[in-house]
Amino acid sequence: MALEDLYREVILDHYRNPRNRAALGQANAVADGHNPLCGDEVRVELLIEGDEVAAIGVTGHGCSISQASGSMMGDAVKGRSIETIRILTGRFKGMMSIDGAGDPGLDPNRPGAVLGDLESLQGVRKFPVRIKCANLPWTTLEEAINNFVASH
């Protein structure tokens, strides 16, 4: 296990210069995520228009992995449909599962299913205690979307 697998330059860049890191004034879907073990906190705010996430804000405090994951997640879901985001979330969490098997039913070439920068987080899988950090923004995103769907 090399630390370079975990702390790739692209991850450190997102950690130092997080994207989408602003509270949305006009959010219509919000969720807060906590990792009670380490105190990481993430807030995901969405502006959902039709079935599309028009804007996203990811704020909070945490380690480089949770913050970089949230920053990349914002880039990846902005302007995407809820269905595509659900596919992405499944793919990301699949990549983070210990066996790395991913979602076997998913065609990786399917439009919208490409992880891009997020692939850089796959080294986290080799550090099992940190997987929760990477997943936290995504779990929070899912909750925000579920809250929105349930109330509309």
Binding site: M1, L3, L6, Y7, L12, L37, C38, G39, D40, E41, H61, G62, C63, S64, I65, Q67, F127, V129, R130, C133
Partner: protein, 411 residues
């Protein structure tokens, strides 16, 4: 002085290599490692003398009972308690704190009363009081810290009044290492007629404690932080107070008589030990107490202090590192929490682990304290009898690796 070579030889786990590196175990404040003497004492009971304690009219049960009560005696002597009956075995320090909160607090507190604690407490000395306050209507009040990470007793003088019925404070902060003046707190508490509970989870493993001079009325601690096994803790209390205190749990072992609609309690300490107790763990704790007594608790404290002094000195040379805790070793234990600018505590801990250095990262079960310091997480290194200056050097070197990976040393 501690013969650390001899001590280290008693801890088989220290021979392990972690990620190809020598293990520098710096997380004893969370749980200590165990010497072979403790492992052997427990294995001996399981192999040779195992049967449920009390009630059994046969050899094995008698032997197990004798060993269990001998462990109680060892703990009583270790604390200089006036009698073995003042030692109540629980499953942990947390259980000891809860036993006091439920057994004493629930039955003695009422609306208008106050519970006084401090912001530097572990959750085990906060959350039970939230529950008891909700049940009784009593109010929770806090003592604050000085800028030097000491308990601000001066500023808390006006909080000691007749409404305060219980003062609950840590004898050594698991985050800051701060050791507040328990004797002075006891004087203030007793002046207003309050009972003093000391959370000794960090104090008892690391400093000599004589309950007859400490000033506390109750003291809770666990075995696993003082070389003993998990699953065993102790609530010490003044006998008269224990006798007037209600049990928090009912069941076997804790009764004198049970009828259909009521029951009478057994004598202390048994009235607080419902069900089959963790007696093998208590025997393991007895062996740990023997081990610590052989070293001498004065030596343990001095050893921790020397390492702490060395670590404070070396850590001061790490750029961007700030320590949350007293800057010197006076009235301070060997837990050093720090923040490294630009690197989250979790990242620090992951990188240190790759270098064989085991530290804790997070809120250390003291969220109100971390919040008051403006932090959500910190990294903590803590020392015990088996640590050596080489462990501190490994820590400092590994922090250098962390700074390098995060590009903090410039291009």
């Amino acid at each position: 002085m501690i013969d650390t070579d001899a001590v280290r030889g008693d801890f088989p786990i220290l021979e392990r290599r972690i990620n190809g590196r020598r293990l520098a175990f710096l997380d004893s404040a969370a749980s200590s490692q165990k010497p072979v003497q403790v492992l052997d004492a427990m294995a001996d009971i399981y192999r040779n003398s195992y049967a449920n304690v009390h009630r059994g009219a046969y050899t094995l049960s008698h032997e197990a009972t004798e060993a269990y009560e001998e462990a109680r005696h060892k703990v009583a002597v270790f604390l200089n308690a006036t009698s073995d009956e003042e030692i109540v075995f629980t499953r942990s320090a947390t259980a000891a704190m809860n036993l006091f909160a439920y057994g004493w607090g629930l039955n003695n507190l009422k609306s208008g009363d106050r519970i006084l604690t401090s912001v530097m407490e572990h959750h085990a000395n906060i959350v039970p009081w939230h529950i008891i306050a909700r049940h009784t209507g009593a109010e929770l009040r806090y003592m604050e810290l000085t800028d030097g990470f000491r308990l601000d007793l001066e500023g808390a003088q006006d909080r000691f009044d007749e409404r305060v019925k219980v003062v609950a404070v840590s004898g050594m902060s698991n985050v800051l290492g701060t050791m507040p003046p328990v004797g002075e707190i006891a004087r203030l508490a007793h002046e207003v007629g309050a009972v003093l509970l000391v959370d000794g989870a960090q104090l008892v493993p690391h400093a000599p404690v004589d309950v007859q001079t400490l000033g506390a009325d109750f003291l809770g601690f666990s075995g696993h932080k003082m070389l003993g096994p998990t699953g065993i803790g102790v609530l010490w209390g003044r006998r008269a107070l224990l006798e007037s205190m209600e049990p928090a749990e009912g069941g076997g072992e804790m009764i004198r008589d049970v009828r259909l609609y009521e029951s009478d309690w057994a004598e202390v300490p048994h009235k607080f030990e419902a069900g089959t107790p963790p007696f093998v763990e208590a025997i393991g704790l007895g062996a740990a107490v023997d081990y610590l007594s052989a070293i001498g608790m004065d030596n343990v404290l001095q050893h921790d202090r020397e390492l702490t002094g060395y670590a404070l000195e070396r850590l001061a040379g790490v750029p961007g590192l700030s320590i949350q805790g007293p800057a010197d070793t006076v009235d301070r234990g060997g837990a050093i929490s720090f923040d490294l600018t630009g690197i989250h505590a979790h990242d620090v801990a992951t990188i240190l682990d790759q270098e064989g250095v085991a530290v804790r990262a997070g809120h250390h079960c003291a969220k109100p304290l971390l919040r008051s310091l403006g932090l959500t997480a910190s990294t903590r290194a803590s020392f015990y009898v088996y640590n050596v200056p080489e462990d501190v050097d490994a820590l400092v070197d590994a922090l250098g690796v962390a700074r390098r990976i995060f590009g903090l040393d410039g291009p």
